[in-house]
Amino acid sequence: LSETTSPSDYRRILVALDASRESQAALEAAARLAARLEAELLGLFVEDVDLLNLAALPFSREVPLLSRTSHILQPEQVERELKSRAAMARRALAEIAAAFHVDWSFRIARGRVETELVAAAKDADLVALGKGTRPLSGHVYLGSTGRAIAARTIRSVLFATMTSGSADAAVAAVYSEDRRSGEALALAARLTKHDGRPLAVFVLGDSPSALARLEAGAREELQSMGVSGSVQRVNGTGLAGLLRAVQTTSISLLVVGANAPPSDTDLALETLVEQSACSILLVRG
């Protein structure tokens, strides 16, 4: 499949699983989304072939984060570790899918992580993965996998965060000149309508007249959907204004339309992912 799907028709959500806390966050966010959209979860665990190759080299050493000394990386140990993590990931998927009453499937692939995910994304409508977290410092970053998914697929992407606030926090949509704004707003509205969470709409425009027009448009769309929400103007189309609005509002998920593949917004996406505490759903296509 190469054509993109409207958010309202998301039926398959691919979740990148590696049994880390980040992927658990992605799994939860994806499961919640799947339940709202009546979609299916496709769990994918990639046995990283780079890691296996490295372990097979006789002199490769692992420098653990929680130890002062390195040790030799054993291929058998890595194999065992990957098997164990895959089992954990499968179990987590099964449990959460049962909790949210969604269909699910699980697959293990061996290869390079980005390659396998990009390949698997072709069969999905949306890819969910966790935001990267720097070891020890806990700094959030986009990560090479996220960057690859954003760059090499046209699918919508959910970057889930581990600190997305309470489940009752608001869902926000960015409403701008972007052609996907309507879809983003519709998706956000659908999510809040389903579970009664508040809806916030950040209207981005580069002039007062544009802002007024967009705000009127947003309100009209909300009205047509029969959903109420707070509409907030954000001056300027730049990232700074949006970030400020996101950081000062208690939200758990920001739905934003985005280019696919990204062009000059590449850096902006990275900044948005890293500096917002909530999960980010890029509606693309």
């Binding site: 190759n53 097979a56 080299l57 002199f59 984060l65 002062r68 070891p135 410092s137 000062t248």
Partner: protein, 807 residues
């Protein structure tokens, strides 16, 4: 030696109406102090006045003598001149929460401080989150975060660049990182690696080792940076919080600048809030309600996170005038010294300074504490706790478990509070002497005893004073006024209560009962003034209400179930008199005492004692009889009789020696073979010389026999023989007096056994003549002859061969 009946006027003293110069008690002034208690009053005044350690007071006396009322009145008077007590509150000890701090503050300040602290918490809960959400704070925090993020990324980027330059890459592994050789963005497989020339392999291996070493160094560095980052953020938070907290607390410091204790506490609060500001940022533990009585959100008081800043007020002296006077009605250990209460949380018992509860020692600190000694001494640990507090001059709140070292779980040890108090114990006399004898510390701590009299002398002065006392009771109890005759009747009843015609009872409670009841009967009769007949009726009705047992006893006598003769004469049989005390009711009743004699070895057997129904004093009386017989009749020969004495139909035990004269009369009658008049009952104890001695309950005993005789019909022969010493105690009922006046009943007062036996047998007792002989035909001669006969027979028995018989 003839004994004549006492005149009717001698049987009961009447109040001299001329001493009562008023129409009703409304005209009487109240007495400045309780009459007849000058000794106790002096002691109380001294005990309250002296301000030295150990000069606490024990007011001792019978119940109902007005001890409590007088003590309270004196204390109230003394306390009004004293200064109001300090407030006391407990606050958290931020350095050691297990040892809460006590603050003693001027009156009214504790409550104000509590309100201020509650307001402070409310203000900080609003101000701190606002500050942390401010743009300025976010920017400053962002700068720090960014600095470390950049540092982090730079070092990894440098490593990546170093790796890239050598065709290596950093790879995430399950546990950390590793350095891998890469070609075309992918890790070189082992097969490809094997295909590389050996020197290249060696170079790759060497490069990897170098980079691994650098990676190790970097990873070792990360925790240090993280620590540094946290410290920088903590410093930032401290600066920010210090600013806002300092601003709020400075205002309080200014308000309480004169009170160094509070200023120091506020400093500790400030430091603690800065250290624990997170609590002010977190979501509330419970849902806030719109407001409470303080006008603050209720969560500020109830939210567990902020309990540490509460002020637990134990003593609030707002508006107090004078020193406190506290009467603790239930002096348990915890009610005295206070307690540390616990809350059940998640199955465990937890506590903090807010659960410290004050005791009466706290409330009375700086003033006076009145305790009922009996209640205090019957409460476990309470007496010891009070002594410990008085000795150490501080109040230390410990659970009984802590005090006894039975509990070793972590609990609170609140800071002890200095104690400055005067304790007044009120109790009965026996209790005072018991504690004095058993507790060596008692006199060190209770040096002043105020001994309340049970009665006072009845003379002209005291008659007037007693009338004033009656008037005071009537006024205090909102009773109708009593007229002069009623007062006189009440005074006479006071003497009856004292069981003494020369005394007036100081049992105020009993007197007050009669006055209350007389007031009732006056009201029932539609009178607004209480008259003598109302007082009489009150006394009669009171007796009637509790007279059931006495009635039943007399009924059994009338029905012949209990054998009591009230006429005729019997040998070796006499009517003794005993008193039964049942709660508030005391009544007398006759008991038949009989004696039997035969040859023996000089034993007078008390059958009551043999079967353990006789008490030691009764046994003593019987042994005196033996001694009397031996001393009077058998000084130069063996006392060769065996005599038995018994209280007939007595199944409940006999105690006291008031029947010893009656027993002796029975014994003499049996020995002399002379009948005793059954129309006369006898009471009085006897000594070895044959002197009749006073006994208690003389009025009840006479009335008890009178009632039995009256029910059978008074014959004019009946009467009671009492010790002459008891004539001063006679306060008999009017019907008894009236019968005596009419010659239908008699009261005889005797000094010696000889006087008594003459009266009872109608035969002269007889005195030894110059030859040492009693005259023929006298009681004593008959007794002596009988004893000599018994001695002779015994002597003859002694000379017979073994197994022989008397011829």
């Amino acid at each position: 030696m003839k004994v004549t009946p006492l005149a009717a006027d001698a049987l009961s003293r009447r109040c001299d109406l001329s001493l009562l110069q008023f129409q009703t008690t409304d005209e009487l002034q109240e007495l400045p102090e309780l009459p007849g208690q000058s000794r106790a009053i002096e002691a109380v005044r001294f005990g309250i006045g002296i301000k030295r350690q150990g000069y606490n007071l024990f007011a001792l006396g019978s119940p109902g003598t007005g001890k409590h009322a007088m003590i309270r009145e004196f204390l109230a008077r003394s306390a009004s001149d004293g200064s109001a007590p300090l407030d006391l509150c407990y606050v958290n000890n931020f350095d050691d929460p297990q040892r809460p701090k006590a603050l003693r503050l001027p009156p009214g300040v504790a409550v104000t401080l509590r309100a201020d602290m509650s307001e402070l918490v409310g203000d900080l809960r609003a101000a701190v989150p606002t500050l942390f959400e401010s743009e300025d704070y976010r920017n400053r925090r962002h700068v720090i975060e960014e600095e470390f993020k950049t540092r982090h990324e730079e070092i990894f980027e440098k490593l990546q660049e170093r790796a890239k330059a050598k065709n290596l890459a950093l790879v995430r592994t399950p546990m950390g990182f590793a350095v891998a050789p890469v070609r075309n963005g992918a890790v070189v497989s082992p097969d490809d690696f094997e295909k590389l020339p050996a020197p290249e392999q060696q170079q790759i291996q060497k490069d990897m080792e170098e980079l691994q070493a650098a990676l190790e160094d970097t990873i070792r560095q990360l925790p240090l940076w993280e620590k540094e980052r946290r410290e920088r953020l903590r410093d930032l938070n401290r600066q920010v919080v210090t600013f806002v907290v300092g601003h709020h607390i400075d205002a309080l410091r200014a308000r309480y600048r004169e009170l160094q204790e509070i200023v120091a506490y506020l400093g500790a609060v400030e430091r603690d809030v800065v250290e624990n500001f997170d609590a002010f940022l977190a979501a509330p533990a419970d849902k806030a309600s719109p407001g409470d009585a303080d006008g603050l959100p209720s969560r500020s008081r109830n939210d567990g996170r902020f309990r540490r800043y509460q002020v637990n007020v134990l003593v609030d002296s707002t508006g107090a005038k004078g020193a406190p006077v506290v009467y603790e009605d239930n002096p348990t250990y915890l009610n005295l010294v206070g307690a540390v209460e616990h809350l059940a949380e998640m199955g465990a018992l937890v506590t903090d300074f807010g659960l410290i509860k004050g005791g009466s020692l706290h409330r009375a600190n700086g003033g006076y504490l009145v305790l009922d000694a009996h209640k205090l001494l019957t409460q476990p640990f309470a007496w010891d706790a009070l002594k410990r507090s008085l000795r150490s001059k501080e109040i230390r709140i410990e659970t009984p478990g802590q005090m006894l070292s039975l509990v070793t779980t972590v609990s609170l040890t609140p800071e002890p509070v200095p104690l400055d108090i005067k304790v007044v114990l009120v109790g009965e006399r026996w209790l005072y002497y018991l504690v004095s004898a058993l507790d060596f510390e008692f006199h060190e701590l209770f040096k002043v005893a105020a001994d309340f009299e049970d009665d006072m002398q009845w003379d002209a002065d005291s008659t007037a004073a007693y009338a004033q006392l009656i008037a005071a009771i009537a006024r205090r109890e909102n009773l109708h006024a009593l007229d002069r005759d009623a007062v006189a009747r009440a005074i006479e009843h006071g003497a009856r209560l004292a069981d003494d015609s020369s005394k007036l009872s100081m049992h105020i409670a009993q007197l007050a009962d009669v006055l209350r009841e007389a007031d009732y009967w006056a009201s029932e009769a539609g009178r607004t003034i209480v008259k003598a007949e109302d007082v009489d009726r009150a006394i009669r009705a009171s007796r009637r209400r509790s007279d059931r047992i006495s009635d039943r006893s007399r009924e059994m006598i009338q029905r012949g179930l209990i054998l009591i003769d009230t006429d005729g004469a019997k040998i070796g049989q006499v009517n003794g008199l005993s008193v039964l005390n049942l709660g508030t009711m005391t009544f007398g009743k006759p008991s038949r005492i009989t004696a039997k004699v035969r040859l023996g070895r000089g034993e007078v057997v008390d059958i009551e004692r043999q079967v353990e129904l006789g008490g030691p004093i009764h046994s003593k009386g019987v042994m005196i009889l033996s001694a009397f017989l031996a001393a009077r009749y058998a000084t130069d020969q063996p006392l060769s009789l065996w005599a038995s004495l018994v209280f007939e139909q007595s199944y409940g035990g006999v105690e006291g020696d008031s029947a010893s004269s009656a027993e002796l009369y029975a014994l003499l009658s049996a020995l002399a073979d002379l009948p005793i008049k059954q129309s006369i009952a006898v009471t009085g104890s006897v000594n070895q010389h044959g002197d009749v001695q006073v006994i208690g309950g003389v009025n009840e005993k006479i009335e008890g026999f009178f009632d039995v005789c009256a029910e059978r019909g008074l014959t004019g022969q009946q009467g009671v023989l009492v010790p002459a010493g008891n004539t001063q105690h006679l306060m008999l009922r009017q019907d008894v007096v009236d019968a005596a006046r009419a010659g239908r009943f008699h009261v005889f007062a005797v000094r010696t056994i000889d006087e008594g036996i003459e009266l009872l047998t109608g035969v002269p007792a007889g005195e030894r003549d110059a030859k040492g002989q009693f005259p023929e035909g006298t009681v004593n001669r008959l007794v002596e002859d009988r004893l000599m006969g018994l001695a002779e027979r015994r002597r003859r028995f002694a000379t017979l061969p073994t197994g022989g018989a008397e011829s």
